[in-house]
Amino acid sequence: MPLELLLPIVVIGITLIVLMTHLFGFSKKFDISSDAIARARWSREWEADKIGDVVLCENGTAALLDTDQGAGVLWAFGADTTTARLDHVDVARTKDGLKLKLHNFTAPVLHLTLSPTEADLWQQKIEGLSK
């Protein structure tokens, strides 16, 4: 098929699919709304971990977990979740919460939207648990 025909089909096709996916409501983020959900979603990736304390983010987009393998963060990743261990993390305050530099090519930076009180608590815990 000539490129002059293929390229517009690809561009229009991608645009249409993405637009319709969004309009159908499929952009909704995963809601980490409970301790049980956070534990289940962490265990989904790290089955062998024993989980201690869990701190949920008020807006349901992230959770901080203390495990026998060290601290970790679970966050909403589109309609799913993903995780990162916090064994090598740099934490910085931002006007909306915290920025975690994860030193991970597949998840380089995580921006957490937290209230000032939450941000204080999270920063303290992350810096304490990551030592």
Binding site: M1, L6, I9, V10, G13, I14, L16, I17, V18, M20, T21, H22, F24, F26, S27, R44, E45, E47, A48, W75, F77, G78, A79, D80, T82, T83, A84, L102, N104, F105, T106, A107, P108, L110
Partner: protein, 310 residues
């Protein structure tokens, strides 16, 4: 030398791909079942697909040049009858099985293939989430015997294109099971859902392209179980929708591992070619370790599909 020309079937299938994706999307929206879509995930998959086509245009000459060279060397020419094309299709599917198996068991090849498994969703856009770096796995070498025994490169590439177009429709949760006779011989949505599973049970199974018989023959077949729903994605999922990071992350991982200080040459080489999860100090897990740990934690699954060797 015979000059043969076949259409690039993948290019001609693109409008069909778009139409079927829209159909699946609308079906899921209306029926509230049959799979999940997520906007950024779908966009990433589609951009990976577009990039795959672009990479084919940019680097396709390398494989084509290699096959043309082999065609010049071989004294054999099986011709281009319908029977020859059919036999080539079957043998090329056998080739696909082994390349796909290498793609999961040799990190250098996994680095190209991992992209395809990186979505936590399983829908027709996932089918298009394809590698940008396939040429650099050098898996074209596995096709060399087909050229040398007399199949024209154009026929081989045509067969390969048909193979990939067949695999598009099996990337869906909207189809449960096909009729038993079909499931017995062909690759199907059910069989391929297992392949995309990150469940310990479903790791490293069902490598087939078109014919599932290869997995049954070589001992890598695992059926989809009603009692264990497939969980899609990687053992450790990505935290990015950025297609550049998706495309290159495992290559970056290999580079970091191979160049770390204090390793022997053999260890550096092993980081590139051992199965994903291998580490020189045992700090990571390959799929065998994941399965063994899962059986230790859940002894009732010992010996069941996917855990036969544990």
């Amino acid at each position: 030398m015979t000059e043969l020309h076949f259409p690039n079937v993948i290019d001609y299938a693109v409008p069909g791909f778009v139409a079927l994706i829209l159909l699946e999307l609308v079906w899921i929206f209306i029926k509230h079942r049959g799979g999940r879509y997520e906007t950024r995930d779908a966009l990433t998959s589609l951009l990976m697909g577009a990039g795959n086509v672009a990479a084919g245009i940019a680097f396709g000459f390398i494989a084509l040049g290699f096959f043309t060279l082999l065609w010049k060397i071989t004294p054999l020419d099986l011709g281009s009858s319908v029977l020859v094309i059919a036999i080539c299709f079957v043998l090329d599917d056998l080739r696909y099985y082994w390349v796909h198996r290498f793609g999961h068991r040799v990190r250098w090849v996994w680095a190209s293939h991992v992209n395809h498994h990186s979505s936590q969703h399983y829908n027709l856009t996932t089918a298009l989430r394809q590698t940008w770096t396939g040429t650099f796995t050098f898996m074209m070498i596995v096709r060399a015997p087909l050229v040398l025994i007399g199949f024209h490169p154009a026929i081989i590439l045509f067969s390969g294109g048909l193979n990939l177009v067949y695999q598009f429709w099996i990337h869906t949760e909207a189809i449960d099971k096909m009729p038993k006779w079909f499931e017995a011989v062909m690759n199907t949505p059910s069989h391929h859902r297992v392949h995309h599973g990150r469940n310990a049970r479903y790791l490293d199974a069902n490598y087939a392209g078109v014919f599932i018989v290869w997995d049954k023959m070589f001992g890598t077949f695992v059926p989809e179980l009603e009692e264990e729903k497939v969980d899609y994605g990687l053992v450790v999922n990505l935290g990015t929708f950025n297609p550049l990071r998706v495309a290159f992350h495992e290559w970056v991982g290999i580079f970091k591992d191979v160049t770390q200080s204090g390793l022997t040459l053999k260890q550096r080489f092993k980081y590139a070619v051992m199965p994903p999860g291998w580490s020189h100090d045992g700090s990571r897990q390959m799929s065998e370790g994941i399965k063994a740990d899962h059986v230790a934690k859940n002894p009732d699954v010992k010996g069941s599909p996917g855990f036969e060797r544990f």
